[in-house]
Amino acid sequence: MEDGDRLHVVTADHISDQRRRLGKTLVWGSAALMALIFVLQTLDGIGTLTIGFENWRPSLYAYLFWSTCLCVSQVLIRGEHGKRTLFVLPAALFVISMVVFPLLFGLVIAFSDWNLSSPDGRQFNGIDNLRQMAGDPFYWNAMRNMVWYTAAIVVEYAIAFGLALLLNGQIRARKFFRVAFLLPLMLSPVAVSWMIGKSMLEIRFGPISRFMRYIASEPSADLPAPLFWIGSYISDIGQWLGWASPSFFGSAGIARAMIMMMDAWTFIPFMMIMILAGLQAIPRELFEAAEVDGASKWRQFWEVTFPLMLPVSITAILIRIIFKLKLADIIINITSGGPGGATDSVTSFIFREYRDRSNVGYGTLLAIVYLVVIVIAMTILMKLADRWMKPRY
């Protein structure tokens, strides 16, 4: 893809010098206007001039005007090539304008000592925050937890793949199952954490703990002998699993697993539909050919389905990783990172520092470091993925 356009267009643009000049005038003229307004507003802001701007909207409008002129001039100056640029340019301008200022300001905050309650406001403190971070065992603990959480994606992927295969098979009520399997994706994390994490997992009366206790309880003696025998066997297993007195958030391992499960519950449908969509796109002839060759279902899967599904799987997993790295809502609402930081994700950890303690400077630094780590990790992952997916292109 890098070595040329996929869509080859023969263009025979005759762009007159006049038109080119008009284009350039538009860009530079509007840029000058934007700069002028910006300077005026800055001067007004610091009090050198008194024009009395109420807000920075004029600069915003000037920016919008400049963006429009830039887009128009692309076509004016470069004709057909400009029209191509026009596909990407609006989105790029939008993202840049929305992100650049906040990100720069975020960087400034990250290297400041800023507690919102402090009467002195924000003060630069160099790399003090970095030093503090290095000595903050619970930040690194949260980072470690993220590795666990991310690793859980493998299991989610396996389940999603299995479900997608089932849905793609020859089954009745396919529509029902597909809709049912999709629904968890639609729910808000806030509602999930309350209705599932707090209500369903309630220790005394929640349906899940009641079910577990029921399993672990001794079967009624009135039952016929074989049923009784099975029942007591099941109850032995239940008791061995500790289901007689269920505890969901008491120990570190179980609490982390519960968070993983709830998060998986909402996002398995996402991977599932991506894989299902991929499965449906596999040409049937391939399977027929494999069948003619006498390949077993098992071999068909490993030699036809899975390799074909590799690209979509990688895409699904990558997107899933990104969502997973932002995991926070459920943790904040249900465990607040407890017990003892065992379920803390980096984001939920930062939230407490940032929101509960208004320690904005340090919190932002943690977030930026996290961002850098993610960007590096994702770049490596995507380069690897690109190599794997190469045959596609």
Partner: protein, 305 residues
């Protein structure tokens, strides 16, 4: 959908018992997972009709375990006996519901339009903006998805304050567009890559401009993908909580903030919580049911070639 992948081959028919066993297993797993998916929703829906003793006892099945009650809906002013009266809570709920609808739909539409164009460009042409080539541009867009919201929180507060965009729907729409744009671009890029370029080439030869070809030929083919991207964006923006709590106060407030704040210092009235949660997820459930086939058609249609 019509693709029958697991066909009954002759070898299968020879082993009927095995076939039945595998069918049973397949349906067993399907039903089990359907329960896993649906029970929490069922739980939410029924809890909205419970009273305190029902919640305490963990009753499950309406009419058998407990008698449905309008308590939860009454607290929202949405039960049959309060629906006719003036209710400050209902006003609040409806206002937020409307804001949520406007913000999420507009932001998703905006993101799909911007994102589709960008994705089309990225899938068809090679760009060079300075040192940035296509893959870098793609990664640039994608990286917005990675940004932890905490980094942006305070800067956005300051930025929006100076632009007078605090507590406005348009401000929220911009922000939400930003957050879902990457995912739209990702989905749509795969979509467009799967559409053969010959179609457009033919159209271009016939004299259409590139934008003409895009809008009349490519877009209709990519529509399922756009619907999928739209729905996904809708889900993400509809449920967004962090920035909504930060950047809105009274004019543009949205529903998730109301759901979250059901949980305060005075314990939880599960029935109200459930009623509100349920009212908040119903629109998405309906959309999921109606547009489900587009989602699957649209997602990663270009993944396999």
């Amino acid at each position: 959908m019509s693709a029958q992948i697991f066909k009954d081959s002759d070898t299968d028919r020879k082993f009927r018992p095995v076939w039945y066993l595998s069918r049973g297993l397949i349906y067993g797993v399907l039903i089990l997972w359907a329960i896993v998916c649906l029970f929490p929703i069922f739980w939410t829906a029924t809890t909205a009709f419970k009273t305190a003793p029902d919640v305490m006892q963990g009753n499950i099945i309406p009419w058998i375990d407990f008698t449905p009650n309008w308590l939860g809906w009454r607290s929202l002013g949405l039960s049959p006996d309060t629906i006719g009266n003036e209710s400050t809570v209902r006003e609040e709920f409806l206002k937020r519901f409307w804001n949520s609808t406007v913000v999420s739909v507009t932001a998703s539409l905006f993101a799909v339009v911007l994102g589709s164009c960008a994705a089309y460009g990225l899938s068809r042409f090679s760009y060079k903006f300075g040192f940035m080539r296509n893959s870098d541009i793609s990664f640039f867009f994608l990286s917005q998805l990675i940004l932890p919201p905490v980094v942006l929180a305070l800067p956005f507060l300051v930025l929006y304050k100076s632009l007078d965009l605090l507590d406005t729907r348009i401000g929220l729409i911009f922000l939400y567009t930003l957050t879902v744009l990457p995912i739209v671009i990702w989905i749509m890029r795969d979509q467009f890559s799967s559409i053969p370029t010959e179609l457009e080439e033919a159209a271009l030869v016939d004299g259409l401009s590139i934008w003409g070809a895009f809008s009349t030929i490519v877009m209709p083919i990519a529509l399922p993908g756009m619907v999928a991207a739209f729905i996904l964006s809708l889900v993400l923006t509809w449920n967004e909580y962090f920035f909504a709590a930060l950047l809105t106060s009274s004019a543009a407030k949205t529903l998730p903030v109301m759901v979250a704040s059901q949980t305060g210092s005075q314990g939880i009235s599960w029935w109200s919580m459930a009623a509100l949660s349920f009212a908040a997820i119903v629109p998405l459930i309906i959309i999921g049911i109606i547009l489900e086939r587009y989602i699957i058609k649209g997602m990663a249609a270009g993944a396999v070639k």
